[in-house]
Symmetry: C2
Subunit: 190 residues, 2 copies
DNA sequence: CATTCCAGATTGTGATCACAATGGAAGTGT
DNA sequence: ACACTTCCATTGTGATCACAATCTGGAATG
């Protein structure tokens, strides 16, 4: 899943099938679906590989995250009761834990879980599905992002998001989500 | 494609394959891809059918169109030279022609072609892909929209879009695109 | 030593088949 | 007459196979 595959490596259907103990038919369908979602690249000859994103593509995906995730957060805001905020705070502590441990995969996974639990309250499944598509496209390059993050210090954008949720401030929530989403990705476009 | 399948009808993989003269394997892959994109619904048992959208889903998809298409239009604005605007005007005349003829499928097709030609100039393929996904999800219900439109009179939102493009007014373009995209769909949510 | 070319191996695609699960219709009991 | 049950046809899934296209490695040639 997110951030587990090395970018640029080539995949074979028979290899994927053998890896999961199945035939090549399920591997083919999964691969084609991921290609349709943009998480994998298929050459004209049909070869499957993980794409390496150019800078303008990263900028585009960052803009998409900003657009969609602010909307999702705003829609989730009136439905975010205290239990949800506390659960988000708990997830955020595991994010900090993953950063302190230096576990890139766990960081990516828990960070996305933080966002997903918030957006699930928006009751907008189509929008959430689009965001997950964007996440999948960003997956292979999220590792690089983690490498360039300053280690041991979790970003405080999540705390800003939690504060805006507690105070029911829509404008502050918009700003917090947008900066949290775009700030990290801009680092990659050096 | 868009607006050609009746909503609520059930599809079978063998039927699709026989319809296109192939085996069921390509039909299966196409169906699963469309399911992944939200254009088709798959029950827990794997049965394929075209979804009928509830009102809140239509509202959600309309919001998505508003969000994404305004961004795409704004990104296309600085690159929209005169030749593109003239081509858009030509497409718009075929849209009006389709409305006057009462051809629902042609109207849907040319209307989307109008939007796509504009958004292609935005040089944002991921964003455009997401919008096309939204269009596919709205496909089965676009026929209903046409039925409730007042016949013979093309909406003037496209003319507003063209005017904003000519005058290079970003704010007016935003408003024109948003109203063009959401106005029609709100009709469906009676 | 570099470049070109050829052959073997590898890969994706489409077709077909066996199988389990599901849906619907017919039949039966009350 | 209606509801429930049962049984068969239909459907999706996964596996395997043949084939064409492609990639890769080394050999031959300049």
């Amino acid at each position: 899943m997110h951030g587990e595959v090395v970018p640029g490596s080539a995949l074979t259907l028979r290899g994927i099938g053998q890896e999961f103990g199945t035939s090549m038919t399920p591997a083919r369908e999964a691969a084609r679906r991921l290609v349709a979602e943009g998480a994998l690249t298929m050459s004209v000859s049909g070869r499957i590989s993980t794409p390496e994103l150019a800078n303008d593509r990263i900028e585009e995906l960052a803009s998409l995250r900003g657009l969609l995730e602010t909307e999702l957060a705003v829609r989730a805001l009136p439905r975010a009761h205290l239990a949800l905020i506390e659960r988000l705070a708990a997830i955020n502590s595991t994010v900090a834990e993953a950063i302190r441990r230096g576990d890139a995969v766990a960081y990516i996974r828990t960070n996305l879980e933080f966002h997903r639990t918030l957006y699930l309250r928006a009751q907008a499944p189509a929008m959430l599905a689009l965001v997950e598509t964007v996440w999948l496209q960003l997956g292979p390059t999220m590792r690089k992002l983690y490498g360039r993050m300053r280690q041991g210090r979790p970003p405080d954008s999540h705390r800003l998001i939690l504060a805006a949720l507690r105070n029911r401030e829509e404008a502050a929530l918009r700003v917090a989500v947008r900066t949290d989403v775009t700030k990290g990705l801009r680092l990659l476009m050096t």
